[in-house]
Symmetry: C2
Subunit: 427 residues, 2 copies
């Protein structure tokens, strides 16, 4: 049976979820668990929990489900005998790629490569994608510095013990409220909730301000332009300061739309300006599209809205792409083996699923659908905001990604739980 | 058709692999690619390449294939309709675990938990397992330091910009020749080949010497004991030095058998001594079993050979376990939500496969088989070593993990390629 509308039968989490929570709590911390889901019963946009509550799912497993639950094309991909060995045998892709690997890449990742980019490195999640993109920047920066000379014996020896000169003092610039992942190098670029960061040693790298735009945009044009200009000037300052300090910035990492930090948007002009600064300073411009990629803005990659003068140097992806990885300009290809590497460097079984996802996105014209929905959705949310100006503010969105602010976290949580109750009590 | 013996028809890589290599090289660096594999035709211990060469596979995808290629029980697990939604819908496990998650954990990870450990956190690969195990150490250390008080406002604010006091100066001790992964925090503990490390900024943390034992062991008892004692004293020194320095060591991370760094063994007494030092100094004792776990030593976990007085504080795993993660003593459970967390925190579809793997290991009594093979194998390699003392040295092994040294990398590579040729030319 396919659920076709929300149907809440119990409080959430319901009694069955609460029982399972108690059991799971004997095995691990369960503080983040909202409820236990029944993925057999979930379908399309509807997530069903173990208490048989059926919810319209706007959260999609932290933005990682691309075409809904149990899509027939994904079921077919798993059931297809030709794919069987891909699900059974996970290879060390960097050493022994499967027979059909090139075709797979062509029908999946390369079929949706950002305009102008034709090289791609697979990875397994957002964090390792961001970390290895960083490595590509460090490698390219040091290669330029060496001017074609091979690394010295001293460099090769010293790097093994994290010492100079093989382990150089280099830095990566990120932005306030950014989120790029949770392993040390990715977390170093992350500046959102304290619970992600507290107590963990981190490299001290430069952090610039991400523009905080005023809404509605049409009433704040001049102020917002000034804000973005100020932020770009800050980036230029930091590049100078850190060069003088002896810990030069090798690249800038930024989300096209900040996700975890509050769905913060900046204008195409801001990103154009940022790219110009990177070009002028010969450093890497890395757009992290882990959250914004795979069509949620109505174009496959959010940065396609920016009308950039040349492709970004690196575009990182994961989540709805099911596999992690990054596209890159050939300057960022490593010349030696084993430098951008790990045991699995991704998982072909995820690429098989991505292949099916991309086919559906194209066949069903989903990018247009996203644009249509966005064009309908955000003006409607604006109307609601106008009705409740003390409660809602700063409505903003592009395609199906966006947000509206509540006065406090508490208010937001109350709103979410009252949605559930509204359906529960049928009011 | 099931291949049942090595059969080399072409040089390796053969013409088809070389053609594919050329094509893949347009998409990414292929320096590490040995050949393209045909995973449909590979079977059991035999890896078949696209040129129809069939090789006995001792490398098993960088030690990550637990029970051979296309094992029937894994095929059954993928084909089982009850598992379908697990392969199709990857959840955000930390927020919405599937209905059967607790049972799955019980029949897989918990069924083989190291003696005395009953809590487990899933992750996706070795690197994020090691990184999040580190976080568990940092959290526990700071919690003890706070003596039960909550973090201060200053800590919560400052950590967002990687500043003191929220981002404390803490360190983790690792060993020379160790390998723990390639994201920044895991790479900081890694001290093997320069190509893994060169050019990447890293925290400068303490590094102790891993014992370099002399072989044969029975002729070098006193010298090896002295070597291990010296290494333990070094650890104690470093703990003191780094405490004084204001960057205290919160934990020790060590492989039960160093893998990537050259299959280096130390005695059970060494590991007992190391654990004692950790207990005395109230810091974490983390055994990284990413490479040594899942039965390769004849016991499920290599550290079961060590006769430790209490379980290790943390045991990290990945590779042949198919899922990543770590077991931990309850002192290392985080008390707050979202601290040990990321989008997926693992992948239930890998746990489904692991469940099948563990069933096979138990049913087929594979741990005993590993012990039997080890007992046969290493004495035989010793005989060969005695025959070629200028060429082979330091034979060492436990179960099916172990090594013998060649005089140089070049000699080793020549030996491997001549094995291929021996079969090719049928000599
Ligand atoms: S760090 Fe990405 S899968 Fe482990």
């Amino acid at each position: 049976v396919e659920p076709s509308s929300p149907n809440v039968r119990t409080e959430i989490p319901g009694p069955k979820s609460r029982q399972l929570l108690k059991e799971l709590d004997r095995i691990q911390n369960t503080g983040a668990v909202q409820f236990f889901a029944d993925y057999d019963k979930s379908y399309g946009n509807y997530l069903v929990d173990v208490d048989d509550n059926c919810m319209l799912d706007l959260y999609t497993q932290i933005a990682s489900i691309p075409i809904g639950y149990n899509h027939q094309s994904l079921i077919d991909a798993v059931k297809n005998e030709n794919n069987l060995s891909t699900f059974v045998n996970r290879p060390a892709l960097g050493c022994y790629p499967p027979r059909d690997w090139i075709t797979r890449l062509q029908t999946s990742l390369l079929a949706v490569a950002p305009p102008g980019l034709s090289e791609v490195q697979t990875m397994a999640c957002g964090a390792c994608s961001v970390e290895h993109a960083q490595k590509a920047m460090f490698i390219a920066f040091q290669r330029r510095k060496r001017g074609g000379a091979p690394p010295t014996q001293e460099e090769l020896q010293s790097c093994k013990t994290n010492d100079l000169p093989g382990t150089p003092n280099l830095s990566v610039l990120s932005f306030k409220n950014a989120f790029h992942g949770r392993t040390m190098g990715a977390l170093a670029l992350t500046h959102t909730k304290p619970m992600h960061k507290l107590d963990f040693p981190q490299p001290k790298w430069p952090i610039a301000t991400f523009p905080m735009l005023k809404y509605p945009l049409e009433d704040n044009v001049r102020e917002n332009q000034a804000e973005e200009k100020r932020c770009l000037a800050e980036v230029e300052d930091l590049i100078e300061t850190w060069k003088k300090k002896g810990e030069p910035i090798v690249g800038v990492v930024i989300e096209p739309i900040q996700g975890e930090g509050g769905d913060n948007f900046a204008s195409p002009q801001f990103f154009q300006g940022l790219q110009d600064i990177c070009i002028q300073n010969d450093i890497c411009f890395n757009l992290d599209e882990v959250q914004t990629g795979c069509g949620v803005t109505g174009l496959f990659w959010a940065h396609e809205h920016f009308n950039l003068k040349q492709p970004p140097d690196i575009v990182t992806f994961s989540k709805k792409m099911l596999t992690g990885g990054f596209y890159y300009r050939s300057e960022y290809r490593s010349q030696e083996a084993f430098r951008i590497f790990n045991t699995w460097v991704g998982d072909p079984s995820k690429v098989v699923l991505l292949e099916a996802v991309i086919k559906v996105i194209k066949q069903d014209n989903l990018l247009n659908r996203v644009t249509e929905i966005g064009n309908y959705l955000w003006p409607e949310v604006e109307k609601i905001q106008k009705k409740y100006p003390d409660f809602l503010s700063r409505v903003r969105g592009l395609g199906i990604t966006g947000a509206v602010d509540f006065p406090s976290l508490d208010d937001r949580n109350k709103a979410i739980s009252s949605y559930y109750q509204k359906v529960y009590y049928n009011i």
